[in-house]
């Protein structure tokens, strides 16, 4: 189906100033940390003039669970299950980013089959993350429950795949330095192929459900516009950056893993508004399906872990490394400093959704308070990663 829908002139946006407001009075409202649509324990202090947002200050830290401090006190392997809990929708990509950084730090090669498995799992993660994001976003817009139920129906199928491979639905703890923990058998790959083949059917249906919907268009087009210059300066990454028309995808730029072997396109937006950000997710899912089809066709039997890497008493040489990948929410990086000991001296996570919130105030100014939830939803945050 066509992915572009023209702007609807017929729908009028509410006037920017409200007639009956008190002159010059700003009302300060604290939204969150317990709020139905803040996607976790996020809080915004908003100054309102009538219904229009004049100031917005995000307040963080309600889920600051000291990931970095704990990472500096446990072994390199011991941090792997903690990375699952960063962005708890995407444990596989978190695992990969951390494994990639440690592999850079210690100079470890990864066998071919493990690279394929990593790509398959990372793209499946992208599918379920984007699907549930669209569901949540529509939920915030007032499409109560229904799209979320459809999205979670698909997500459950992918979680079943994760569970039968790694043993857990969400906290997979699947990757290891120099490979993966367990091998996927043929039955698993066949099931994955089947789910990937059926996924476009869900996408068609979902796009039919929401993308042409006049209410969705009215609520999202021209709402929360972000310019490309500001996006680059503010370090915005992932679908949010590409919605502004900036062609930057770490999968293409760094070419980590075996991504250069696959043919896929990077969808780009034009306006940088909420609708483009929403579309970006829908289009990226289609490209992920393409990558998955290629990867599932090409994967060959072989070893899945580098035998030289010890599980216990793993001590990388002295040095530092910054490794990054394109996680579903943006650039996820790990910065590690090793002093030669069993624990990292410095363990730093570069959380994409935290840095993507830098421009939240710029996006929301001048919009109504009801739009704040929609804009926040389109940024795609997960508090586990924002606060760590």
């Amino acid at each position: 189906m066509s992915a572009t829908v023209e702007t609807l002139e017929a729908i009028e946006r509410p006037p920017v100033t409200m007639g009956s407001r008190l002159e010059g009075e700003l009302l300060e409202v604290s939204m969150g940390p317990q709020h139905p649509s803040t996607h976790g324990v996020f809080r915004m202090n908003v100054a309102l003039e009538g219904e229009i947002v004049r100031k917005l200050k995000p307040v963080f830290g309600y889920l600051h669970r000291n990931h970095e401090k704990i990472g500096e006190n446990t072994s390199y392997l011991g941090s792997m299950p903690y990375t699952d809990r960063l962005d708890y929708f995407c444990s596989m990509t978190n695992n990969w980013a951390y494994a990639l950084s440690v592999e850079k730090l210690a100079g470890i090669e990864v066998p071919e089959r493990a690279q394929y498995l990593r790509i398959i799992l990372a793209e499946l993660t992208r599918l379920q993350n984007h699907a549930s994001l669209l569901g949540f976003l529509l939920n915030d817009m007032g499409a109560w429950g229904t799209p979320l139920m459809y999205a979670f129906r698909e997500r459950e199928k992918i979680l079943d795949l994760f569970e039968s491979l790694s043993g857990s639905r969400m906290m997979c703890d699947y990757m290891r330095f120099g490979g993966c923990r367990v091998d996927a058998d043929d039955a698993w790959l066949a099931r994955a192929r089947q789910i990937v083949d059926r996924f476009p059917k869900f996408l068609d249906e979902f796009e039919e459900l929401i993308l042409g919907n006049e209410i969705v268009i009215g609520r999202t087009q021209n709402v929360g516009k972000l310019s490309a210059d500001l996006a680059i300066s503010a370090g915005i990454t992932g679908p949010m950056l590409r919605a502004c028309g900036v062609n930057y995808d770490v999968r293409k730029v760094d070419g980590y893993g075996f991504y250069p072997r696959f043919k896929f396109r990077i969808p780009l937006g034009e306006h940088g508004d909420t609708y483009d950000r929403l579309m970006m997710r829908a289009l990226e899912m289609r490209e992920s399906v393409e990558i998955l089809k290629q990867a599932l066709a090409q994967i060959q039997p072989g070893p899945i872990v580098n035998p030289k890497v010890k599980i216990r008493a793993f001590r990388p040489p002295v040095g530092e490394a910054y490794g990054r990948i394109e996680a579903p929410k943006g650039e996820l990086g790990f910065y590690l400093i090793s002093d030669g000991g069993p624990n990292p001296y410095r363990y730093r996570v570069r959380p994409p959704s935290f840095i993507n919130l830098t421009v939240l105030e710029d996006l929301c100014l001048g919009h109504t308070v009801a739009d704040v939830m929609v804009i926040l939803g389109s940024v795609d945050i997960v508090m586990g990663e924002v606060d760590r």
Partner: protein, 208 residues
Amino acid sequence: MSEGQMDEALRRELQRQGVWVTSMQELYNWGRKNSIWPLQFGLACCAIEMIATAASRYDIARFGGEIFRPSPRQADLMIVAGTVTKKMAPQIVRLYNQMADPKYVISMGACAISGGPFKQGYNVLKGIDRYIPVDVYIPGCPPRPEALLHAFMELQRKIDEQKLTGADKAAHLDPQQPSEFPVPAFGRHDLEPPANADVFQPPKLERV
């Protein structure tokens, strides 16, 4: 009102004849246990499993708990789903205080019970039961949706056992029992106080 004094055999016989006999207590508990409205309130990873429990596959509506209320005033059950940080703890106690009696707390997942894997963190509260009483604990990180349903049924059993009268009547019917708990304050190094001694009474551990 026959307070469960009726002969079981007679009751069964009457039921067979189409006469449904019940006690006030049973009726009251039956109504409450089948319409538990949880507070729509998620903290971390476990909240996603809580949403999955409410979503299509597990469907908590089958137990009468589908109406997640965003306002504590309308909720009966607080599912503490996820890591409670010290920055968040005062807000949780405040939410609990705002809920109307009778109210129940499910502590979902390792973090909410004891701080879980993050318990060594400087900003992580080692268990929400330091400030508010908890009715059911679900271990797991995160617990499967089925485990949450299991805990939900456990809570229903607990509600069913509550007495309306007598010395051991339910806490919310006893005016002596507190229904609100003090909200901790942000201190210079830690929450003040670090635990509510009236609620948090761990047994003494003997170790060599």
